[in-house]
């Protein structure tokens, strides 16, 4: 591939001389026409901006921005409380004109237009085509020519939305559509189908353009009608706009006629409309001469048929499947009043949902075994007590059966030894015993199954309970250890290390003599959190928050508090126990400044305020995940 590219480039350079001679000519002719579209965008754009701005200030946006800057910056920066009235005086005239609202909206719209234009104009597909063509040596002149032309309208239909009736039709030149009524209803059916389909898959935009081969269908709907245009290639953004504009005009004039149309094709208006459309088509196609005809378009009807097949086939299949599921679910709902979900996995059915009590469970199971005689997978949520009572019933019936079998066996022995019996009777009784024995074995199997299920469910529940209550378990343990310590907060399990004499005023490193106490507290804290394998995986982080007293300015305090937390954090992380339990890796430090100072009788206790707080945070996601896992 690369070789080919290199060769191509080489050949290109071989023609250097010719290129030099011809370059100016082609440059002006082709390059200009190619870039014209982009150029026009810029031009339109700058014109629009100027227009918008000119409404309020007679200068360009930059200048307006600069002019507003002295007003805007302080407005945003300064606190409102300080000079409210003054600010109103200054800013009101600006708000007064409501330029903020209008200009902002106008610019937003403009931005969206630009986005759209970028997408439409500088479409990736086009560029890709070019580069592929270039690298593979395929002629792209054709592509270039094709792209520099606009699409030609072959036919336009106006179709009533509700009825699908064709109101008006107009064709260009020798284009002919053999059964316009049918084509129209097919086209509107396609649009409806696609749009339903899109709504299902939750995409937002309506389908407007359907392309197949070199033919395109452009569909616009408004009010009570569709306009459907058949074109010989994809219309570009401007063309779509022109079509929409025309459609809007048409709608405005004939709105009542359209909505009241009853299928009478003799109406005077129809002729008028068709004339108007004809003029429009001619106007659009004016610049596209016969010679530039891009191949012959696939007949419209064929396009529609292929599209319809392509679209309808998967829809129909999925609809059929969904319909069957729906019917079955409905049947179950009506017969048992239970809302269950059915799905297929591979070739078997899966039933899921919740069953409230034993009666419903029995009903549902008998119904399901009738509906799915080949068997099904049960993923029902059944209350534990239902399982328990089923289990009890089974145990009872096994006991009864067991009794019966043993009596029978006993009887049989008696009969066999005491009376002379004929073979037939013996065999009959033996068969009966065998059957009963088999039945009993089956019941035993089921019983074991139930017992297993019960055990599993119970284990699951207790595991889940433990995980769900992990927070209160930890809090309870912490409470037992720190319960009487006024620095421990029972509610959130945080430890406010106030009165620890940790920091001298203005100092970030803790006093060495105070660290012993902190160490003791911290080691107890992490032993509870991380020493237990049941809680350990769910502890996400241990947060060390640093605080200052409220002396000094805010910036200094925020920095100082962060430094305090950082110092304490690295000290705590260096403890052997912390390393052993892995606490060093989940320690996080934060600076809180002079937030929440310690007050004693209304006065701040500065020494107490200079402190750190220790808090733990659980990993909610991990908890949720193991909860889900444990209940699976």
């Amino acid at each position: 591939m690369i070789e080919r590219v290199n060769r191509l480039e080489f050949e290109c350079y071989d023609e250097e001389e010719i290129r030099k001679k011809l370059f100016p000519l082609f440059d002006t002719l082709l390059l200009a026409s190619l870039e014209k579209k982009g150029g026009r965008t810029l031009e339109i754009l700058s014109r629009s901006i100027a227009e918008i701005i000119a409404r309020k200030a007679q200068s360009d946006p930059e200048e307006l921005g600069r002019a507003l800057q002295p007003v805007i910056s302080p407005a945003i920066k300064d606190e409102i409380a300080d000079n409210r009235d003054q600010m109103i005086d200054v800013l009101y005239p600006i708000l007064g004109g409501m330029i903020a609202r209008y200009v902002t909206n106008a610019i937003r719209e403009l931005l969206e237009t630009i986005d759209r234009k970028i997408e439409e104009r500088l479409s990736f597909q086009k560029i890709k085509r070019k580069i592929k063509a270039r690298l593979s040596g395929v002629s792209e002149t054709e592509l270039l020519l094709e792209e520099s032309f606009t699409a030609r309208i072959l036919s336009v239909f106006i179709v009533q939305r509700e009825s699908g009736l064709l109101i008006a039709e107009s064709n260009w030149g020798d284009t002919e559509i053999d059964d316009p009524q049918m084509v129209a209803s097919m086209a509107s059916a396609i649009k409806d189908f696609i749009n339903d389909w899109i709504r299902e898959t939750r995409e937002v935009s309506e389908v407007q353009l359907v392309s197949y081969g070199t033919s395109s269908l452009y569909i616009e709907s408004a009010g009570s009608v569709y306009l459907i245009a058949f074109l010989d290639r994809e219309p570009d953004y401007e063309q779509r706009e022109r079509i929409n504009e025309f459609f809007a005009k048409l709608l405005k004039k004939y709105q009542t006629f359209f909505s009241e149309f009853d299928g009478d094709s003799r109406a005077e208006e129809i002729k008028e409309i068709e004339r108007t459309i004809n003029e429009f088509i001619a106007q659009i196609n004016e610049h596209v001469s016969q010679g530039e005809k891009a191949g012959s378009p696939v007949p419209v009807r064929l396009v529609l048929l292929i599209l319809l097949l392509l679209i309808l086939f998967p829809v129909a299949y999925l609809l059929y499947r969904d319909y069957r599921v729906y019917r079955l679910e409905e049947e179950i709902r009506q017969k048992t009043s239970l809302e269950v979900k059915l799905a297929t996995e591979g070739d078997h059915w899966v039933v899921s949902g919740t069953v409230p009590d034993l009666r419903h469970y029995d009903e549902l199971r008998s119904l399901l075994s009738r509906l799915f005689p080949q068997g099904y997978v049960e993923r029902l949520n059944v209350p534990l007590y239902v399982l328990e009572s089923l289990h009890g019933k089974l145990v009872d019936s096994i006991r009864k059966n067991k009794g019966e079998v043993s009596t029978l066996k006993e009887d049989f022995r008696h009969l066999a030894t005491e009376t002379a019996m004929d073979r037939k009777a013996t065999q009959r009784i033996r068969r009966q015993i065998d059957r009963l024995q088999k039945n009993l074995d089956r019941l035993r199997g089921t019983l074991q199954d139930y017992q297993k299920r019960l055990r599993r469910e119970k284990a699951k529940l207790s595991r889940a309970e433990k995980i769900a209550k992990i927070r209160s378990i930890i809090l309870e343990k912490l409470g037992k250890t720190f319960g009487n310590d006024p620095r421990y907060h029972r509610k959130d399990g945080s430890f406010d290390f106030k009165n620890g004499g940790l920091f001298a005023e203005g100092k970030a490193d803790p006093k060495p003599q105070s660290l012993a106490k902190l160490k003791k507290v911290f080691e107890k804290y992490i032993t509870i959190l991380l020493g237990n394998p049941e809680t350990r995986p769910y502890v996400r982080s241990i947060e060390i928050d640093g605080y200052t007293d409220s002396k000094g300015d805010k910036e200094t305090n925020l920095r100082l508090s962060a430094a305090r937390a950082e110092h304490v954090k690295s000290y705590l992380a260096s403890l052997p126990l912390a390393k052993k339990l892995g606490a060093d890796r989940i320690l996080i430090s934060r600076g809180m400044g002079s937030k929440d100072p310690i007050l004693v009788e209304g006065h701040e206790d500065a020494e107490a305020s200079r402190r750190i707080k220790i808090a733990f945070h659980l990993d909610d996601r991990a908890i949720l995940k193991s909860l889900q896992d444990s209940l699976k």
Binding site: G65, I88, L91, I94, I131
Partner: protein, 398 residues
Amino acid sequence: MKNVQKILNAILSKNVFEYLLVDREYRIVQFSAEIQTFLGKERRLKVGDSVFDLLPELVGSEEKMHKVFDGEKSSFAITTVSKNDRYINLYVDHFDEKNLLILLQDITEITKIRQRALQYSNQTTLLTETLKKIINSQNAMIFLANTENRIEFANQKFLEYFNVDAEEILKKDLGLYREMGPGFRSYEEMHRAISEGMKELSIGEDVFFVEAIHIDPANILFTLSKMTELARQRKELQEEVAYDQLTQVYRKKIFDDKACELLKSDRPFAVGVVDIDNFKQINDRYGHLIGDDVLRSFAKLLRREIDGKGEVARWGGEEFLLLIHTDSEKEAVELCEKIRRRIAAQRFDPVPGLTVSCGVTMRKGDENLESLLARADKALYRAKGEGKNRVVYLPPVE
């Protein structure tokens, strides 16, 4: 013709895009020359480099790229990436089994325009937000009404007071102006009343100070501040300030306000101008302290005489204004005559024989303050001219 096509190809390939080919180890296999512009000068690109060094934007997209290689996904894009002061779109596409094609499309120009527009729009949004916050934090009700009686904007207080929501007021004319004050027919009319001097406005039981201003031809800004106890006190305080310090009678401005108010109504009243005769000589002879004393005693007498019948104000110097509630010129003249006689009879130690001249007139049905005062002043001038110490009456119609 074939050559021309090749030339066209060469022209075509200029500057529309740059491209990279990348192998399965994400090493660069081939690249177009101009790609260097996105890299800056310090880095030289060469075959074999990791694409992630060149385009860190693709870190994290390994999975997607893998899918493109295997044809599970046909292409993906990362749009509007800023690199070396240029903006580009990155497209990653399947090329063949061995190579991925990465296209870099330069969209700098259009993106810069977008950025400018967005920046401006963000700033205006911030400004609006800030303004709204400020305006909503105000205690007063502030709203902007247009000439079509729609409320374009109203602050929180207003919405709460009238129990309406912001959407509602924009959509339709709620006719709230009918509930304000005497009931207006439009906001425009309310504005007119305010610009003609209406300062207070009652809505139900509440009284508001009201201000209005046309901020552009179509929009009027109204501010309604509720008159609280504090505001009443302030009003009383203002009353105090309304008095002339020396003589403890009204200042001229207060007289004007009261007279104007009366002129707007059709109640009859008289205006007198009282001037102490030869006051300049008193000042010259006895000094200003004595002069002030005289003015004080004089004003006190005026206040006593006029008490309940009207108002007294100092016009400046030794000239005083009387506003007399009466519908009879005779009564007005008699009151002034009484004052003149009292003064002539009273002793103002140490000044002997103090007299005053006085001009009186009645209001006309439809006239302004200037013409009324001018007529009273003219009467005074006549009294002086006729030898002072007398009262002259000029009737409204001459």
